[in-house]
């Protein structure tokens, strides 16, 4: 064969098949750019010198792995779509006398072009966008933005190696496919009669059950720890349910609809129902994949978004002042903790650093874990991790007044109480080892301020008691039950000053060194949190999460959209003949358009709608999980979820519009 023929034929093929090749090449460009950017950020030495960079680096490393795996799977998948469409064309070459090795030659050149355009284009986009995305990332992380424009050779190398290998692998797949194929089969491949799908009742039943079970778990899980352990079970059930929903339940429902003769033999439903049956049979798994992918994106983006937007709130809860010392006190010791001297020493340190205290609050609390009964708590929890256990936290009414300003006048056996699970009780009993306390709940509080570094990982009951006497009695009680493992009383101070961040950190260090002196008595530990340091860490984590969430969300979104586009377009070619027949039998063009848009609408938005339902059920679980990160603003999470869903739907809508147009053009051509 003539030498220049392969390259020119290959180039022509790409151009003629641009409807399929263009999205494919764009995908390559997009994934290459994404991979390059994450790689470049991870290997940027400037980033690594910043505070909280360890987290960022970890996130980016995660990102590299996820995007790498994703690229391999996704490019192989789109390539298989492409080849399916082109089978006929390649078979024709074969029939016309081209040998298989010639076809292989053409395919090699095509891959070469795709690789060149895709990787070069991707790197170019990546390099250009890198700066922009770094700026955005730094903004998210609250890092100072560095100047300069860098090109990361490490990232370029990694991208070129990865994507060249992916394209070589796809080429090998295609070559093997060509080798095995017989031209006659290829020419006929799409005209083979399509068998009608069967109703799979058992699978449908399994689907309904596992969806129901998954949703039930999501709705009934009470504590965050439980949510963490059970989350994957729920996800697993819902994934199974989703596959069954699309493969079996949809067909069972459509077939039942078809049984209803009066409904079925209406113009609107006649074409729609039988068309959907046909479509569901071939696309069910694809739609289920899209649905799960979309759910992942929605959960990921809304979760990371609310985490990020709630960062300030999280920091507030975790570290309510600029400097927060916390001391665990052993109250039985004779050489007790001398609170007043401690406060004096702290004040001295701040003054020595030329600071002025603008706010100083301190309180003492007791927190311990207890088993939970109908309307009582107990300390017999030797048999380890049990679903029915809770955390109890006690504070005196005087300290409560200091923190919240609420005046109360409690008797010895009276408390104010806050708990998610004991809202309707009037009395509670607390059995701790040798002692039993009976409390009357005077008032159920609507909310409770954050206490020390307690998280609401498990169901937590907060109680305000009369005075330190009661607190000490409770301490003694749990000490008698837990012995060595008992909690101590915790003393916490919340200090705000007019110092700069670096000076705040310096003061905190000096306060920490007080643990070397014996004024504290038999202290167990002194922990000094600063807002400045926590803030950097929190933003590095939540910003990194958000960045990854958005970045991966964007990539996954691109993937789902492309899968749908390919599906619709290739279906368009198959539907063309069908619509021609219907037109000959008397189906007006207007109704063709109508029926087309309805079917595409369903295929497009069914996965999104199901994903939205999944997310709605997942919401409670997500809120629980976010509480592990000190995020408790449910309204914010709700808003973020809605916002994400809306954004997602808008992107979807645009792609739907484009696809429906192309599809209609193919069908009515």
């Amino acid at each position: 064969m003539r030498k220049g023929l392969f390259p020119s034929l290959a180039w022509q093929n790409i151009r003629k098949n641009s409807k399929f090749y263009l999205p494919y090449i764009l995908t390559v460009i997009g994934t290459v750019a994404g991979f390059y950017i994450v790689n470049a950020i991870a290997s940027d030495e400037g980033v690594l010198r910043l505070r909280g960079a360890a987290y960022v680096k970890l996130m980016m490393f995660l990102g590299i792995i996820i995007i790498g795996i994703f690229s391999v799977i996704f490019l192989l998948y789109t390539n298989s779509f492409l080849m399916k469409r082109r089978k006929k064309e390649l078979a024709l070459y074969n029939m016309l006398g081209m040998e298989k090795r010639h076809i292989a030659g053409i395919l090699c050149y095509e891959s070469l072009y795709v690789a060149l355009i895709g990787i070069a284009g991707g790197l170019l986009c990546g390099i250009l966008l890198h700066k922009l995305i770094t700026l955005a990332l730094f903004k998210l992380l609250r890092f100072d933005v560095p100047f300069g424009f860098t090109i990361s050779t490490v990232a370029i190398k990694a991208s070129v190696i990865l994507f060249t290998s992916i394209i070589v692998i796809t080429l090998l797949f295609n070559l093997v496919g060509i080798r095995r194929a017989k031209p006659i089969e290829l020419l006929k491949s799409s005209s083979a009669g399509e068998r009608e799908p069967k109703s799979k009742w058992i699978l449908a039943l399994i689907g309904v059950l596992s969806l129901g079970a998954g949703y039930y778990i999501a709705l009934t899980t009470k504590s965050a720890i439980r949510a963490l352990t059970i989350y994957f079970l729920a996800v697993f059930l819902v994934i199974i349910g989703t596959y069954c929903l699309f493969t079996a339940i949809s067909i069972v429902v459509l077939k039942q609809l078809r049984r209803n003769k009066k409904l079925y033999y209406k113009t609107k439903y006649f074409i729609g129902i039988s068309g959907m049956l046909y479509r569901m049979k071939r696309n069910a798994v694809g739609l289920a994949n899209i649905c799960i992918l979309s759910t992942m994106v929605l959960v990921m983006v809304s979760g990371t978004l609310s985490l990020y937007l709630g960062t300030e709130d999280m920091i507030d809860r975790f570290c309510p002042g600029q400097i927060v010392p916390q001391i665990t006190i052993n109250s039985e010791s004779k050489n007790g903790f001398q609170k007043d001297i401690m406060i004096e020493k702290i004040k001295d340190i701040i003054e020595k650093n030329d600071g002025k205290i603008t706010q100083f609050e301190d309180y003492t609390y007791l927190a311990f874990v207890a088993g939970k009964g109908e309307n009582y708590y107990h300390t017999n929890i030797e048999n380890g991790f049990n679903a029915d256990f809770a955390q109890l936290c006690f504070i005196t009414q005087e300290d409560f007044r200091k923190v919240t300003g609420k005046e109360t006048n409690l008797e010895e056996n009276e408390i104010l109480f806050f708990s998610d699970t004991m809202k309707d009780k009037e009395n509670i009993r607390i059995e701790t080892g040798d002692y039993t306390f009976d409390f009357t709940i005077v008032e159920h509080l609507k909310s409770f301020p954050s206490v020390g570094n307690l998280t609401a990982i498990v169901d937590t009951g907060y109680a305000v008691v009369k005075d330190e006497q009661v607190l000490r009695a409770l301490y003694k009680g749990q000490k008698s039950a837990y012995g060595e493992k008992a909690s101590g009383l915790e003393w916490v101070a919340i200090i705000d000053t007019d110092l700069k961040e670096d000076d705040q950190i310096k003061c905190a260090r000096e306060i920490g060194n007080l643990s070397q002196e014996d004024v504290m008595g038999d202290y167990k530990g002194l922990l000094v949190n600063t807002r400045a340091e926590n803030s950097a860490d929190f933003y590095a984590t939540s910003g990194g999460f958000l960045f990854l969430g958005l970045f991966l969300g964007f990539l996954f979104n691109m993937a789902t959209v492309l899968i749908i586009y390919y599906k619709q377009i290739s279906e368009g070619y198959e539907d063309k003949a069908r619509f021609e027949i219907m037109q000959k039998v008397g189906l007006p063009k207007k109704e063709i358009r109508c029926s087309v848009s309805m079917q595409i609408l369903i295929v497009f938005f069914a996965p999104l709608a199901v994903a939205a339902i999944h997310v709605a059920f997942d919401f409670k679980l997500m809120v629980k999980l976010l509480s592990l990160f000190y995020l408790t603003d449910n309204r914010l999470t709700m808003l973020c979820t809605f916002g994400t869903l809306l954004g997602f739907a808008v992107i979807y809508g645009i792609v739907y519009w484009l696809t429906a147009r192309t599809y209609y053009k193919i069908v009515s051509a």
């Binding site: 009669g193 033999y265 209406k266 113009t267 006649f270 068309g275 069908r578 008397g586 007006p588 207007k590």
Partner: protein, 256 residues
């Protein structure tokens, strides 16, 4: 009596997209078909048969000329009404059956009725006698890929007849059938025609054409010749058509 179908001075010129080349598919075609007739149109490839059929089926518009069905000018019907007109008045039988493979045989037959918005009871009433006549009652619940070519074509005939159309247009109906199925189908067409159904068939199979009562020959875009069966047997008709075709080819050469 007014003829059922009247074709007057039909002309169709195809123009390439940028207006460069003109191809004259139909030059000047005129003929008429009375109610209850069984007419075949014959011609070689490229003689304009398919163009003519497409225009008769209102799938294409002529450059000039009229097509009257029961006195109504089909070329003047508005685009949005054309589908309804087609499905109420014309029944189609195609060479490659044109059945939808995602519908059962029964649903394929119902398709035009569903499009016309008929209710299910009426559909059932109509399909019963027809499917018995065509011998497809047993396969009504099967799917197109499960039945033979002859059965598919009879399904298509059933679909064409179920709307009680004024005329059946058949485009090479025997083209994809074996000889036995061809005989069956042609026999069926004869029977339907005896019951009063008007049939217009386009074919280049001499055998198929020989079953018609009248055969029109098209060449170079005009109706060149026609022969009537009268009292001839199928074999005599077959001979007559063959002779005409031979004459047409050689005679055409002389004219050229």
């Amino acid at each position: 009596m007014m003829p059922l179908l009247e074709v007057k001075n039909l002309k169709k010129i195809y123009t390439t997209r940028f207006g460069g080349n003109h191809v004259q598919a139909l030059t000047d075609v005129s003929f008429s078909v009375d109610a209850g007739e069984y007419v075949s149109i014959m011609g070689e490839s490229g003689s304009g048969k398919t163009t003519l059929l497409n225009i008769l089926a209102a799938l294409d518009k002529p450059t000039s000329g009229d097509v009257l069905l029961s006195g109504k000018d089909m070329t003047k019907i508005k685009d949005k009404d054309i589908s309804a007109f087609r499905r109420d008045n014309i029944g189609f039988v195609f060479q490659d059956f044109n059945l939808l493979d995602n519908f059962s045989i029964k649903d394929n037959i119902f398709l035009p009725l569903v499009l016309a918005g008929k209710n299910y009871k009426e559909m059932e009433q109509r399909i019963k006698p027809l499917s018995e006549k065509l011998g497809i009652t047993d396969i009504l619940n099967k799917y197109p890929y499960e039945v033979s070519g002859g059965q598919k074509q009879r399904t298509a005939v059933c679909r064409a007849l179920i709307t009680n159309p004024q005329i059946i247009l058949a485009d090479e109906p025997t083209g994809a059938l074996d000889s036995k199925s061809t005989d069956q189908l042609l026999h069926l067409f004869g029977k339907i025609n005896e019951d009063g159904q008007t049939i217009l068939m386009v074919t280049h199979s001499v055998k198929a054409a020989s079953h018609a009562k009248r055969v029109l020959f098209i060449k170079d875009g005009v109706v060149y010749h026609q022969i009537y069966r009268g009292n001839c047997s199928y074999d005599e008709m077959y001979q007559k058509i063959s002779d005409t075709l031979t004459l047409l080819t050689t005679g055409g050469d002389k004219n050229a």
